[in-house]
């Protein structure tokens, strides 16, 4: 479904991605794990068009989408949920959701989608008229994910959805991701919480300073001694 080949991205003076190649099959959850500054978020931002690639190719459904404008990529069905619960704080929950469906023009479809999100995240329904900024951290993350789903993406890019959340909430978020995947959306999941990510993912890539150093089935990666030592902590 998505095929990235030899991607090179500069972030200011930093050569953030140095020839990254990876792929994703339809219906998969692929997780990218790695330490801070490994280039995970850069990779997501490049796929969604927020950062330009200097070399390499991003292909999506056999179409070259490298360096396409972000709004065009959204229309093609790739939606990113940015890192750090970035919701529109001065908009109500409802308006945030409607904003997620910005590329959708069919009002009926938007209303249906909102209903669907309220069914999936009942707390958002209860808070629909509240300003996004007044929600709690967990609620904001749910809103960010729900907003991403509003455009009915075929591929969802999640950037550290568990960041700064309590363990109970983290578990709920990962349950949600799994259920989103079960209903047919492919997911690229960038995570620091490697343990949880590897449990729900099908396949995994390990990034280190802009290069992919390990790839394989999630279960395999979970067993890999290097990963255990570097990302899971020796237990």
């Amino acid at each position: 479904m998505l095929k990235v080949t030899d991607l090179n991205v500069h972030y200011g003076a930093i050569h953030a991605l140095q020839g990254v190649s990876f792929n994703l099959q339809e219906g998969e959850i692929v997780t990218l794990i790695g330490a801070n500054g490994a280039g995970k978020s850069t990779l997501l931002n490049t796929i969604s068009g927020l950062l330009p690639a200097v070399k390499g190719k991003v292909e999506y459904l056999d179409e070259d989408i490298t360096n396409l404008e972000p709004q065009k990529i959204v229309r093609k069905g790739i939606v990113q949920v940015p890192e750090g619960r970035k919701i529109f704080a001065a908009m109500s929950v409802m308006e945030n959701l409607e904003m997620g469906a910005f590329t959708v023009t069919d009002k009926k479809l938007i209303a249906d989608k909102v209903e669907e999100m309220f069914a999936k995240f009942p707390i958002l329904g209860k808070r629909s008229k509240q300003l996004g900024g007044t929600l709690s951290g967990g609620e904001q993350q749910m809103l960010a994910i729900a907003r991403g789903l509003m455009a009915s993406p075929k591929l969802l890019l999640l950037d550290e959805p568990s960041m700064g959340l309590s363990p109970v909430l983290v578990e709920q978020i990962f349950d949600t991701i799994q259920s989103i995947n079960n209903s047919g959306t492919s997911v690229i999941l960038v995570e620091q919480n490697a343990q949880m990510a590897l449990v729900i993912a099908h396949r995994a890539y390990v990034l280190e300073t802009g290069k992919i150093v390990l790839e394989g089935d999630a279960q395999e990666v979970l067993q890999n001694p290097m990963v255990i030592e570097a990302y899971l902590g020796v237990s």
């Binding site: 927020l50 972000p70 709004q71 910005f102 209860k126 509240q130 709690s136 709920q172």
Partner: protein, 521 residues
């Protein structure tokens, strides 16, 4: 009584004494007295002085304010009175000493206008109530009594029985309101809004014919600034781009109409309406030319660049290089007004009509824009550019669109402005114009139409009506802005967004158990 109680009151009296001295030195006291006398309907001719009674009234009000503010909220009544007494006495002594100096000036016949342009002997005499040597004592007595009065007022109004009384009045009023609402017949409810608009429409039709050209001029000016405010609000308030050179677009509209519809320097005489249209287009073209290179900038940088742009346009209009084309520093005179169905439509009444109609139209367009998909996109861009992009908003197009639409409003207002004045020159398009429009938004309330109207009235209408303020305009302006920012940081009439409830209490309650009822459990 202990020192802790005396010293703050003493300081307060001293501070207000100095404030009053400054007021006297810049003649502000006479101006306020004049305004007070106008409030009571006295007709004061420009340049002459108000009745001495109004000066007394002003000083009493001043003293009462000192007494009110000196009495601490949580003190006992006797303490309050004592504090006010100390402050009032201090104030009186300070001004009494000052009076001695002033009196000496009068006696020796010194004219200080060489050093303090505003301080005429007549003003000093008015401040001294024309009583010469005993005026220090009069002031001392007046301020002490007034301060005590202020304190007494605070004690009475803030007492429990008084607050109970106010509560009673409030609930009674609400009851009456509810009753009235229940008793209004259905047709009033149904057509009430329509009737109200009809009434306003009728007023807008007949008032300009009745109230004379001066009021038409003031209303027209306020109306033009409302249009300008709406335009700038699209750029600053809706799409979040801080723009400081807005007058440049205003100039585009004004000069287009001037160049195309005045006998000199080109004599094209295209007619007002086509010129106005071209003026709007020119403003939009300018916006595109400015917008394309600077779209990537944000915040302070954008403000600086747009500021420069505004100045470039003004200096170009004024430059020797373009004198043959734009008329140079002398500007363009004799701009012809509009015609309607072959009839001249350019009396002051007609201009008021035009401006009011354009203003209503602008408000309508603005309201539609605000609630549109584009309006939502602007809000998103303003809040978080990255996330807006991630939801599929085209940043460049939307920002540029906001700039162009705002510029179009400015071009429109500029065109009407030039034709109404029958003149435009570089001085009509100074940086101060841009600042004024931005101030209207800040004082009135960003993203709020009633706020913009109120702001335009406060900053452009009031100074016209209260001509006495003129010399103190910047002082009052600055003071007003400072007070506003402290007491009403969101503007006089802040924007309210429908469909939003502030449910803080509820939120706090459930925050203890995060995730409860959340997700698909």
């Amino acid at each position: 009584m202990n020192k802790k109680l005396v010293s703050p009151s003493l300081k307060r009296g001293l501070t207000f004494g100095i404030v009053m001295i400054i007021f006297v030195l810049i003649d502000l006291d006479v101006m306020v007295a004049t305004m007070l006398s106008k409030l009571f309907g006295a007709n004061v001719i420009r340049g002459s002085l108000p009745d001495v009674g109004f000066m007394v009234l002003f000083l009493i009000l001043f003293g009462m304010f000192v007494g009110w503010s000196t009495s601490s909220d949580d003190a006992k009544p006797t303490t309050k009175l004592f504090q006010a007494l100390v402050a009032g006495l201090t104030l009186g002594v300070v001004l009494g000493l000052f009076d001695l100096i002033l009196n000496q000036l009068i006696v020796t016949g010194t004219d200080v206008r060489k050093y303090l342009a505003a301080l005429a002997p007549e003003s000093i005499r008015l401040f001294l109530f024309d009583q010469g040597a005993i005026s220090p004592l009069l002031h001392l007595g007046l301020f002490t009594v007034a301060s005590l009065l202020g304190s007494l007022m605070k004690i009475l109004l803030k007492s429990e029985s008084a607050s109970r009384f106010f509560k009673g009045v409030k609930s009674g009023y609400q009851g009456l309101q509810a009753k009235a609402q229940a008793n209004t017949p259905n047709w009033v409810k149904k057509y009430g809004k329509f009737l109200l608009f009809l009434l306003i429409g009728l007023l807008a039709f007949f008032l300009p014919r009745i109230w004379g050209s001066y009021n038409n001029y003031v209303v027209g000016l306020v109306g033009l600034y409302v249009i300008l405010g709406i335009g700038l609000n699209i750029i600053v308030g809706l799409s979040g781009q801080l723009m400081l050179g807005f007058a440049a677009f205003f100039a585009m509209g004004a000069y287009s109409v001037a160049l195309l519809n005045a006998p000199l320097p080109h004599g094209i005489m295209l007619g007002f309406w086509p010129s106005l249209l071209i003026g709007i287009l020119m403003a939009v073209v300018a916006a595109v030319l400015l917008g394309l290179p600077v779209m990537g900038m944000r915040g302070d940088y954008l403000a600086i660049v747009t500021l420069g742009f505004g100045e470039i346009i003004r200096i170009l209009l004024k430059s020797d290089l373009l004198t043959s084309f734009t008329g140079g520093p002398r500007g363009i005179q004799d701009i012809r007004g509009p015609t309607l169905f072959g009839q001249s439509f350019s009396s002051d009444i007609d201009y008021t009509y035009i401006i009011l109609v354009v203003m209503v139209l602008s408000i309508f367009i603005y309201k539609r824009l605000e609630r549109s998909r584009t309006g939502r996109a602007w809000l998103a861009v303003k809040e978080d550019t990255k996330v807006a992009q991630a939801t599929g908003v085209n940043i460049m197009t939307n920002k540029l669109l906001a700039l162009c639409l705002g510029a179009a409003f400015a071009g429109l207002a500029g065109g009407i402005f030039a034709a109404r004045n029958q003149f435009t020159g570089p001085n009509d398009h100074q940086l101060m114009v841009s600042m004024n429009i931005l101030s209207i938004l800040i004082v009135g309330g960003v993203n709020s139409i009633p706020g913009i109207i109120l702001g335009a009235f406060t900053l452009k209408g009031l100074p016209e009506i209260l001509r006495e303020i003129e010399n103190y305009r910047l002082l009052v302006f600055g003071g007003l802005l400072v007070v506003m920012m402290i007491s009403r940081p969101e503007g006089l009439w802040p924007a309210t967004r429908p469909n939003i409830e502030k449910d803080e209490g509820n939120k706090l309650k459930e925050d203890g158990a995060p995730g409860k009822g959340g997700l698909n459990d």
